[in-house]
């Protein structure tokens, strides 16, 4: 028998859940909404009418395009390099026992635990002392550094679940180290690599704090928004922000779909192994 109390509790739970979702999604909704705002003047704080004008000309604000492209290029390069390095670190620390292994394991993860301001300030003084001109390259270096930890963590998780003997079997059948990596190890850890890359890309793309310290004259998308916010954000920023969000969500769903297929394969395979 459902008592009145049960019904009240269910209703309250529903309200609570909706409230939580609203709390999470209202900011994003506002950003999306104001990308369609037909704003008059510099400010984009009151909704004054619907327009597609900003979506048609997303780069109509000076400097925005350069900053946006910089961010994408840096994120792509940082991801690529961090993933290549990360595969190496993950393989080395999982597969081999050597002096300094634990040290490497914890050092790679250290940036994850360090406050970003501290990292940024440290990098800035490093570059200043070293006389390095700050700009595109220093941003890229910083991004590789702080994404590497996430990449290693993600790929390691994948490698840990893998039977070591599979690689030995490949070598037993005539594949040298490089062929084994290409034909067996990489295909098997591909889902982990994809997830790691996605994570690194997203983290690099929206980093503000560290980038702000090491950017020099170079603008990235987050830096541009921060600068623009003081004089009123142009709606084009909203357009690009939402576009980025959609791209990343799409990539995530794609990765999820691919992983689900691979996951079914692996679950069945490991079920047999466990027996």
């Amino acid at each position: 028998m459902r008592t009145t109390w049960d019904r009240v509790r269910d209703a309250a739970l529903g309200v609570w859940a909706v409230a939580a979702l609203v709390y999470l999604f209202v900011p994003i909704f506002i950003v999306a909404l104001f990308s369609f705002n037909d704003n008059k003047g510099r400010f984009n704080f009151t909704f004054q009418g619907f327009t597609l004008r900003h979506w048609e000309h997303p780069f109509a604000v000076e400097g925005l395009q350069t900053a946006f492209v910089n961010s994408l290029v840096i994120a792509a390069l940082a991801t690529l390099i961090a993933v290549i390095l990360g595969i190496g670190v993950a393989l080395a620390t999982i597969r081999y026992r050597f002096r300094g292994r634990t040290a490497i394991e914890s050092l790679v993860l250290l940036p994850l635990a360090t406050p970003e301001v501290v990292l940024g300030a440290a990098l800035l003084s490093l570059f200043l002392v070293g006389g390095v001109v700050r700009g595109f390259v220093t941003i890229l270096l910083a991004h590789i550094m702080f994404t590497l930890g996430y990449v290693v963590l993600t790929i390691r998780a994948r490698l840990e679940g893998m039977d070591l003997h599979i690689e030995e079997a490949a070598m037993d059948l005539g594949a040298n180290e490089w062929q084994t990596l290409r034909k067996v190890t990489l295909p098997l850890i591909a889902p982990g690599v994809a997830a790691a890359g996605l994570l690194a890309f997203a983290i690099s793309l929206d980093d503000f704090v560290i980038t702000n310290f090491v950017s020099g004259q170079t603008q990235t998308f987050p830096l541009f928004i921060y600068g623009a916010a003081r004089q009123g954000l142009p709606p084009q920023v909203n357009v690009l922000a939402i576009a980025l969000l959609l791209i990343i969500v799409a990539l995530m769903f794609l990765n999820l779909a691919v992983q689900r297929r691979a996951g079914q394969r692996d679950a069945a395979a490991s079920a047999v192994l466990v027996r």
């Binding site: 039977d163 003997h165 599979i166 030995e168 079997a169 490949a170 070598m171 037993d172 059948l173 005539g174 594949a175 040298n176 062929q179 034909k183 067996v184 295909p187 098997l188 394969r265 692996d266 069945a268 395979a269 079920a271 047999v272 192994l273 027996r275």
Partner: protein
């Protein structure tokens, strides 16, 4: 078999240390062509490490490994003419069965047409013709095991290394695959090196067994040799139940040696079993349970008679298991075939009995040299 060619596999003073632990301790052996060789021992005895060194997955700390007379000690696995069947099968989960089996041939750049033919033959050999296009996870454990075998054998290696290949399978499937492995070995004539901890498996399949313990080879020989003439207590106990009795040499004749047990019984052991022990030397005499005969007191005749009383008798149909306590306190296990139809009512627990056995059924083991 060609007597003059080098053995397929030769190990010379192989030692493997992992930090302070010695996994394999100065092992030397030769495995002749086309033999079915088993390495038998409890877990941690070094048998798998030895196999992995032959395969190239571990570097020996000391010693030499030769394949067909060629030194391969520092040669990586992918340039050794041996293939391994792993305990976990280690199939490539992302490739079909066909491409799993073809992997080695592709690496060796065998022409496509020939590779396809050899893959088909290998799958036929292990009765998996219809499975070529499946993925490993769509196969049962036994089938995956066969794929692992086909994937190795298709390369026609000099020797096949099998690391507890049946360890993950249930008993019925194990027995079936044991027969199949023996058949395949006979069919293809490749040397098999089979690592196992199951003495029945080793005895039923191999023509030569190396019994390993604490990183050393305790004894090497045919299954019958190891069973009937074990040289150490470890081998005697590992290859089945055995009764060991302490005894002192009292006289040596040309055909038998006379010994006294602690409870004063006189034992006679065939002279060729006792090497070099002078009078007064202490030995351990062993007899297998099925070689012992039970008789009511006073009715026994024979050269070796031990007096005792039955403490346990379990009737198992085909045979009866007895435990007899001798006067000196030694406990003997006796297996009596149920060939006469007489059973428990004749010799039940509590009865005084005489245990007899023939001098030619005795073996002598070395005193334990415990280096613990």
């Amino acid at each position: 078999m060609d007597q003059h060619s080098a053995p397929d596999i030769a190990l010379d003073g192989i030692t493997k240390r992992f930090g302070d632990t010695v996994a394999v301790d100065d092992v030397s052996l030769e495995i002749p062509k086309s033999s079915f060789f088993a390495m038998l021992g409890p877990s941690g005895c070094g048998k798998t490490t030895t196999l992995r060194m032959i395969g190239g997955f571990e570097d020996p700390t000391e010693g030499r490994i030769e394949l067909a007379g060629q030194d391969v000690t520092r040669v990586p696995p992918y340039r050794r003419d041996v293939n391994t069947v792993f305990q976990s099968y280690a199939l490539f989960p992302h490739l079909t069965i066909e491409r799993n089996v073809a992997f080695g041939l592709q690496q060796k750049k065998v022409p496509k047409a020939e590779a396809r033919k050899r893959v088909a033959e290998a799958l036929e050999l292990v009765h998996l013709e219809g499975m070529a296009h499946r993925k490993p996870n769509q196969l049962s454990g036994g089938q995956q095991q066969r794929v692992a075998l086909a994937r190795a054998i298709v390369n026609r290696p000099r020797a096949l290394l099998l690391d507890e290949p049946l360890g993950a399978l249930d008993l019925k499937l194990r027995r079936q695959l044991q027969l199949e492995l023996t058949r395949i070995q006979r069919d293809v004539g490749i040397t098999f090196v089979h690592v196992t901890h199951d003495q029945e498996e080793a005895m039923s399949m191999a023509d030569t067994i190396a019994v390993m313990n604490k990183g050393r080879i305790e004894q090497l020989g045919s299954p019958t040799e190891l069973y009937e003439r074990p040289r150490t207590a470890f081998v005697a106990n590992f290859l089945g139940v055995c009764n060991l009795m302490e005894a002192t040499v009292v006289a040596r004749h040309s055909d038998v040696v006379e010994l006294d047990t602690a409870d004063g019984a006189r034992l006679h052991v065939a002279a060729d079993r006792v090497n070099g022990s002078a009078e007064g030397g202490r030995l351990r005499v062993g007899v297998r349970p099925e070689k012992l005969r039970l008789a009511p007191v006073g009715q026994a005749s024979g050269t070796n008679v031990l007096r005792g009383h039955v403490t346990d008798a379990s009737f198992l149909g085909v045979m009866t298991h007895y435990v007899v306590q001798t006067a000196a306190g030694a406990s003997l296990t006796i297996v009596a075939q149920n060939d006469g139809g007489e059973g428990l009512e004749l010799i039940g627990p509590g009865r005084e009995v005489d245990v007899t056995f023939s001098p030619k059924h005795c073996f002598v083991v070395e005193e334990e040299h415990d280096d613990a």
